[in-house]
Symmetry: C2
Subunit: 490 residues, 2 copies
């Protein structure tokens, strides 16, 4: 636990992998590409879920649950959708095991399914097959549903949280009477995600739309939020899709409008996943370990006693009681670590690695002086606080940590959006500085692909707040009306 | 929606199926045996989850997440475990689809997995494979973890909530240093389940242990809670297993004890599932539809305006505002149904079907008289309540409904536990009265199997509060020391 992490400057990727394991967030399992989310990591995910779930409900959505399995024929109904997902599907072909003659366990060949089932990579198809039964009239619309679920995409190279074969997520699926309403919903949910990322995760994001080649398989428009990690690589943190009538047509979902005419329904879908845990880690953490925004921290305050002998430990515990009660009354999660088998220095290192925002140390002399040593995780600084000020100080400190790490991330991003006007400059910035590169692009998929082939950078998004600006594509030299954001990405 | 249900007396099974669909709880999906849990049904499940989750955390448990897939070899490691689950496994054999020559989508034969993966029917094996890495010393114990997840058991005959191929559940998996501690944990969690069933679901349960042949595959002892449905059939509502060292031995999980000696770890697992939704429906509901205990009702109070014209509707809406605010301030979920397209009678029937505990009707004359018509769903009775008494009345009424339906269920059960002393009597009670039949049994699996073969009744449990009593087995005539509870069961 207390062993030091590989510094970010030495090997960022190794630092990340070590941190996720040492901070007790997650680990690889015996199943290729599938992770175990450990209790401390899961507690952070639960806090994310609770905040998002409330935001979904406040915007009129209800939760429901749809099957894990999708018949192969459903997946095939929307052409571009199956193209997008066919290459990474876990396929169930049998429904029974049996004992072989030699006593080993084998798949029973007599229990082959007539039609193979796909473990959902996303649920548009099974949900639109259901919506067909639910929607007859304009009175049945809109349908505003969210699902918390596990999904499977058979990735070949996996990394904890960032890319795993199975991951946890939420997926919203809505049905609307008009195109305009569906577009507004897709934009609203992108904004919900952006608000969540910025206010809870303290991760600044760029709101934008994807180019056609980066769009969700089956979408007419994909809205996204893009974050920037400390190594200068971008991370797509959430997407919200305007699906047009594609799935309504594929699954024949029509409604009778107020004029008595049949029309296909308009749709959206939107999702964020446990990938957000990776974004959280890579935005704020340092060489000492995890740094957590207080709003998502499972433990806000840890109190470590500095003592000699059981008697003094008991005195400290007794002395602390009203302080702990007062902190908890403020809605804070407080842990008093009275483990007798570990030295304070070891505990300090452990909570630094786990990113507990505030650490309080208290010894015999502190009790005499009525002071506490209060340390903040983000700046790794500490100060002596009088007992009478403790509660107010801690509450204000947590608020300040939330703001400080957000500002730090904003500043990092601001210094890592670089405007370039030539392909040479583009490659130079990508290579030596990283971050988002703002450049003119001719709008063609060919140019996009060629740039990706040569530099590994993709167009992360066309920012929603772009300003029109005449220019020339850095690659083809053809005229362009605005800049888009390129970056290497997770 | 307003169409009447088949009465219970006519066809109980049909009544149940119709009710689940018409009350908007769930429906069958296009995937054999898998259900769609609709928003109203899911909202009840969320309330169950929230209450249980809090009880688990209060008893020291943390949540975590383990992989959906289990390598076939893991499942085989515990011999009786694989025997119990092999016959109903969804098996993933491939990880990719591709286009066939004729353009259709087929499973790519080149993407066959080296080792098949089983969709978890329960997670003991994958979790104990993980615990081996987590446990070295007695300091690492106990491990008290719970997981909320979906699981799959390939049932041939399925019914909404009661028996579905995929279902949602929680599964607790704990590891302990001593046998005694593990047994205490298994008993504690059975008691948590019983408390939840009785206090939240208002479903009385019998606490007991299973006979050897009804035990969980891999357990040394299975504790259970058994409920009685209105048709006289029993339903197993939750189980808690003392697993001994079976999984620790199968996965080689040892710890060094305080004396420095290596020992295998002791284990429990315990679970309840969306099956509880079926128990909830079948315990309280009537021919009009669902009856819900207020503690699990998504909507506590529905208010239906009786009006002529938009102007009067607006007046009523305005008049109601402070009442609705006061009800909500009491923590109640209140719905004001101002839909203009439906008549009050239709709305009344709809909320009766959906089991909303309290319905308030308000018209022009009620406003003048400052009264409300308040109806309770459980007794289908109504009374006029003065405006000044409304809030207190509704709060007290909800409390009374929770107690009344519990008492009704207790009384039903009390009159349906029948002591018998001969096999003739046993069969007669099973056939004509149903319910639990309390009878002497010789303790052998042979007798148990023969009785099941002849009568379809199984031993539901050996009640924990049994009293020693000399007697003779109703089937074999051999001596017996106590009565056990038989019943036909879901």
């Amino acid at each position: 636990m207390s062993k030091k992490l590989t510094p970010r400057s030495e090997d960022y990727s190794k630092w990340y992998n070590e941190l996720v394991v040492k901070a007790d967030l997650a680990e690889n399992s015996g199943v290729r590409g599938c992770m175990v989310i450990k209790p401390y990591g899961y507690a952070i995910w639960e806090k994310m879920q609770a905040a998002l779930d409330q935001m979904f409900k406040e915007t009129g959505h209800e939760n429901a649950y749809f099957p894990l399995f999708i018949p192969k024929s459903y997946l095939s109904k929307e052409a571009s959708h199956v193209d997008g997902f066919a290459k990474e599907c876990a396929v169930v072909t049998h429904y029974r095991l049996k004992n072989d003659e030699d006593g080993s366990i084998i798949v029973d060949p007599d229990a082959k399914l007539e039609e193979e089932l796909i473990v959902r990579p996303t649920s548009e198809t099974i949900i639109w097959d259901t919506y067909r039964r639910w929607i007859q009239s304009y009175r049945d619309l809109p349908i505003l549903i969210n699902q918390w679920a596990n999904v499977v995409r058979w990735e070949m190279r996996t990394r904890l949280f960032l890319r795993t074969a199975e991951f946890l997520w939420q997926e919203g699926h809505t049905a609307h009477a008009t195109k305009q309403e569906a577009i507004e919903e897709a934009e609203r949910m992108m904004e919900v995600y952006a608000t969540f990322a910025e206010e809870f995760m303290a991760v600044p994001v760029i709101r934008g739309i994807k180019t056609e080649s980066e769009r969700f398989a089956g979408a007419e428009e994909t809205y996204c939020i893009e974050a920037l990690m400390q190594d200068g690589k971008a991370l797509q943190a959430g997407t919200s899709h305007y699906l047009g009538q594609n799935f309504a047509k594929a699954f024949d979902v029509k409604y009778v409008n107020k004029e008595g005419k049949q029309e296909h329904v308009w749709a959206t879908s939107w999702g964020v996943s446990t990938r957000l845990m990776g974004a959280l880690v890579m935005t704020h953490s340092d060489d000492q370990g995890l740094v957590l925004p207080p709003k998502l921290a499972p433990i806000h305050v840890v109190i470590v006693p500095i003592y000699k002998g059981e008697e003094q430990l008991d005195q400290i515990a007794e002395y602390l009681k009203p302080f702990i009660a007062d902190l908890r009354a403020k809605g804070l999660s407080v842990k008093f670590d009275n483990r007798d088998t570990l030295k304070p220095g070891f505990k300090f290192a452990e909570y630094e690695q786990k990113g507990v925002p505030v650490r309080i140390a208290i010894g015999g002399r502190d009790m005499e002086n009525r002071t506490f040593e209060v340390a903040r995780r983000d700046l790794l600084s500490k100060e002596l606080i009088g007992a009478d000020q403790l509660i107010d100080h801690v509450v204000a400190l947590l608020d300040d940590i939330q703001k400080t790490i957000y500002k730090k991330a904003i500043n990092y991003r601001a210094s890592h959006i670089t405007e370039v006007n030539s392909y040479e400059e583009f490659k130079e910035v990508l290579e030596n500085k990283g971050g988002f590169v703002s450049a003119h692009w001719d709008g063609t998929a060919d140019t996009e692909a060629a740039i990706q082939e040569e530099t590994k950078a993709t167009i992360r998004c066309i920012p929603l707040d772009f300003k029109e600006e005449e220019g020339r594509c850095i690659y083809s030299g053809k005229p362009s009306k605005m800049r888009v954001l390129f970056a290497k990405a997770y």
